[in-house]
């Protein structure tokens, strides 16, 4: 089971691969759309890859609630339990 820091690091790696951003820019307070310029298709790709990486399920209807990187980290942390 990954802790919050490990989830952030893993998620940042996925986002960096998908967007070309530096992983260090992917911090908890960043908004996926407003700060990281991630469109809905890229967001679904990130979700799919995160589900595999952390062995969790992120329902499609939940994705719209994941506004910031912190929201996603918290959801994944909770979903692991």
């Amino acid at each position: 089971m990954a802790d919050k820091n490990e989830i952030l690091a893993g998620l940042a790696e996925i986002v960096a691969e998908e967007t070309g951003l530096d992983a260090a820019e992917v911090t908890l307070e960043k908004s996926f759309t407003d700060d990281l310029d991630i469109d809905s298709l890229s967001m679904m790709t990130i979700v799919t890859l995160a589900e595999e990486k952390f062995d969790v399920r992120i329902p499609d209807e939940e994705v719209k609630n994941l506004t910031t990187v912190g929201d996603a980290v918290s959801f994944i942390e909770g979903a692991q339990n």
Binding site: E17, E18, T19, G20, L41, M44, T45, T48, E51
Partner: protein, 412 residues
């Protein structure tokens, strides 16, 4: 009618990662065909263990996110399109007057089959959301349209191994009909995957010369035993002559006309008497306002198959008559392998460079020419085209399904 000129060239091929390297290696008569650096032949019991493989992988020149979002076929098209656009001087053009026409014969076969492998191994939830935008055969042209802001239209006519030539034809029509001033046009293919290789081998279409891959593609040689799969992309920048002149663009040559026909005869085999191919060449000459006597060079489709090569060669002789004795015939697939949907576009790049530099590239591996061949074949080393006057050349492309495209190019 609006005259159409070519102001930019781009390519990534088994002979090089760009046009200058590809052309230099073609003139030197080098082969881009080599044995696979993998275990496919053993693992899948595939009877063919070689192909014309890219020298420079797109991942070496594209960013990581670009390679993740594009099928290899689109990656190759983008690499070639960037080179062609820069070569054209990155023209300043109204987005609504810029078009794109880039085809693939097979489409995103790697994406499709990787997605299916993922689904079988891990289930539907692991199938990536980008799968459809990557596998669709219009994906390369859509990415080209996105990259350059081409809003006059983006087209991907699909006709197997004639696709790249048909895309250039589509670009020509866009300019001639007044829809665009510039069109980025060409073809791309990334089908060196175990499944297409096995499928082509199942048709007995591929050469099995595993012990000597560099000599396997040997159009018109009596011992030819099938085509060699290749991969890559060729892109040309088509432009109305008026637009090109207004901005003082350098011009490689002109697209004078084209002929397109269909055999309506067999799903894979060419019509035995080559009537459809011949008619395409005749229509191309007619539309170009030329006669056989004006043709100095032909870049043949010639894939190195026992049947196909001579059907085309007889057709060329039929169309050009005794003038064929003075026409320099080149079969560049002998060096690149067969790029399928990329072939007609790459060979258009070769044809334009031949006219521009007044030199016909060689055909390699022909040690014993088919005795029936009645056209002057350029073998092993390049040969000069006439140094003076206007020259014209034909580039033939034919595809499974009976598609025939003859593009007629002229010097600038």
């Amino acid at each position: 009618m609006t005259d159409v000129v070519i102001t930019g060239l781009g390519a990534t091929t088994p002979l090089g990662g760009d046009v200058p390297t590809t052309w230099e290696n073609a003139l030197a008569g080098r082969s881009g065909v080599r044995t696979f650096d993998n275990d496919w032949a053993e693992k899948y019991d595939i009877p063919v263990n070689f192909a014309g493989q890219l020298v420079v992988q797109p991942s070496e020149v594209l960013t990581r996110p670009e390679t993740k979002r594009m099928d290899p076929s689109a990656q190759m098209a983008i690499v070639a399109a960037r080179e062609a656009w820069a070569d054209a001087g990155s023209p300043d053009v109204d987005s609504d007057r810029l078009g794109a026409a880039v085809s693939s014969g097979i489409g995103g076969v790697w994406t499709l089959l990787n997605g299916w492998d993922t689904m079988k191994e891990k289930g539907a939830k692991r199938v990536l959301p980008m799968t459809v935008p990557m596998l669709m055969p219009n994906s390369p042209v859509a990415y080209v349209s996105l990259e350059f802001g081409a809003r006059a239209g983006a087209h991907a006519p699909v006709s197997a191994c004639a696709s790249g030539a048909e895309a250039i034809a589509a670009g020509f029509e866009m300019i001639q009909s007044g829809r665009a001033d510039i069109v980025i046009a060409g073809g791309t293919e990334a089908a060196i995957h175990p499944l297409p290789i096995s499928a082509f081998a199942a048709m007995a279409a591929l050469s099995k010369r595993n012990d000597d891959p560099a000599s396997a593609s040997r159009p018109y040689d009596t011992s030819r035993d099938g085509f060699v799969l290749g991969e890559g992309s060729g892109i040309v920048v088509l432009e109305s002559a008026e637009h090109a002149a207004a901005r003082g663009a350098k011009v490689y040559g002109r697209l004078l006309g084209l002929g397109m026909t269909a055999d309506a005869n067999h799903i894979a085999a060419p019509e035995p008497n080559g009537a459809g191919q011949t008619r395409a060449m005749e229509l191309g000459l007619e539309r170009a306002g030329l006669t056989a006597a004006d043709i100095a060079h032909v870049n043949a489709h010639a894939t190195s198959t026992p049947v196909g090569d001579m059907i085309e060669a007889r057709g060329i002789r039929g169309v050009l008559g005794s003038h064929a004795d003075q026409v320099l015939l080149s079969a560049t697939k002998s060096m690149t392998g067969h790029l399928l949907g990329g072939a007609g576009a790459l060979e258009s790049v070769f044809t334009l460079l031949a006219l521009h530099n007044r030199v016909a590239p060689p055909t390699i591996n022909v040690t014993d020419p088919d005795p029936e061949l009645e056209v002057d074949l350029v073998r092993d080393t390049p040969r000069d085209l006439p140094a003076e006057g206007q020259l014209a050349a034909i580039n033939n492309s034919f595809g499974f399904g009976g598609h025939n495209v003859a593009l007629v190019f002229g010097t600038a």
